[in-house]
Amino acid sequence: MKTIVGLETEYGALLSGPSQGMRELFRQEEMFQKVRDHVFYEQRMGIIDQHQRAYDEPPGNGGFLLNGGRLYIDMGHVEYATPECHTLLDLVRADRGGDQLLQDAVNEMGLGDEISFIKNNIDHQTLATFGSHENYLVSRDFPFTERGMDPLVAFLVTRQIFTGSGRVGASYVNDSLISLASDRSPVTFQISQRADYIVNKFYQWVQMNRSIVNTRDEPLSDPVQYRRMHLLLGDSNMSEFATALKFGTTKIAMDLIEDGKAPRIGVLDPVRACRSISHDMSMEWKVQDLEGDVLSAVNVQELFLEAAIREFSGRDEDTDWVIQEWGTLLDDLSKKDPVLVSDRLDWAAKFVMINQFREAEKVSWTDPWLESLDLEYHNIDPEKGLFRILEEEGRHRRLLPQSLLETGKNCPPSFTRAEGRSIAVNRILENPDLSYIIQWFGIQVNQGEILYMLEPLKTYRKEVGAYFSDLSFPPARF
């Protein structure tokens, strides 16, 4: 796929010891700062920001990494942003690189017994949610209108049947505003972590009133040519397969829309549909199209798959892989048995695992132990995490060979400007007296000329090399 994708992950943290109530949040933040400082100052895996990036990002809050990505503290979470990725495998590798970066730091600091990083999107006690944000580079010509976005909304609402990470229980965010008499059925398990928190179809904010499509216009590249589609509704996936398929299918859906080849479909009341699909463990997943006809989420996905086969078969290896696996998966999902897809999808793997435990231990779905297991599924520590056992034992499909997995935290993806940024980070690490500003779209050193990097699909390796060669410090070791 000739495109750029990227993923931002806000990690949760589980601290050992007795709970200290709200004081726990301060403990977490102190721990985050220690880990961040270790990554930048001891491990020298990147360079800390010297400038104020934004009102809530003072100098020292975070920085860019050797892999071209970014680590920082945002809204009480450690957040990792992958570098710009050109292939699905690069995206998966960069995503796992973030996990490895944090876990290596924890281990090296000897904090393994004190803190666990949890790659999920909710806690079970409050209404807190935190994000997994997907980024897709699209053309400025993308039909970014309410009418033009109907197919994208239909796609996004129904894709959770394979992108959801699953969770025990439910959250009713609107109950915090007004308590409604409830005749709703109890939700013991649902397929998505974020569905309960999506309350709008379109909106520009990212912390409140989360929407199916976030409309913030911040391309971080040439604004004349590009738009960055920024999606908040997805879950943090542990599964490499689910991560790759999520990005692959979503990019294909966007390409179909941009080319005017997408199925002409919209979904009635998509916010409600988002929640009802997530809560429906019968796997019927019924939605209504704009004419009021009832169809299933699998049917909607099949419409997009058929269009993808028609328009993009043979386009490139990633596209062909997506088309093949998408089709197989939809066939399996239509059989309505989570076991059949538990080797590829997080929600199904978690459901099967917890259900087996529940039956073996004879505990009910309301037992808080199951919430604890839900969390532990997302623990990134291979010595503790439940998902990691599924991977290690071959019960869940992996995409990354071990040799590539090891490179994610310090190896930039190919064919993108992350390569040039990575060279710049390395140069600055070698010359600590430099002053610098690094942004996604450019670099500036010693308050000199700005090297703009507005084309994400260009590596800028030569330009960055020349830029540093022109500076007055010992010759670069190219």
Partner: protein, 64 residues
Amino acid sequence: MEQPMGVEFSPDRQVVPGSPKKDVQKEGPVPKKPDVHKGTDRLMDRMKKVDPNQSERYRQRTGE
């Protein structure tokens, strides 16, 4: 261009963008069908060791 010290660029395989499928095949066969019974003991052992009350301690700030 020689790569700078400390930076690892992707190997040349990515001159042609790879795909998940391609690399999985290099690494060897992967399970196509789930085997829910395989390795259950190790997983169950780890699940039993999870503190039943840890979700009570897990309180996060709302993020984005």
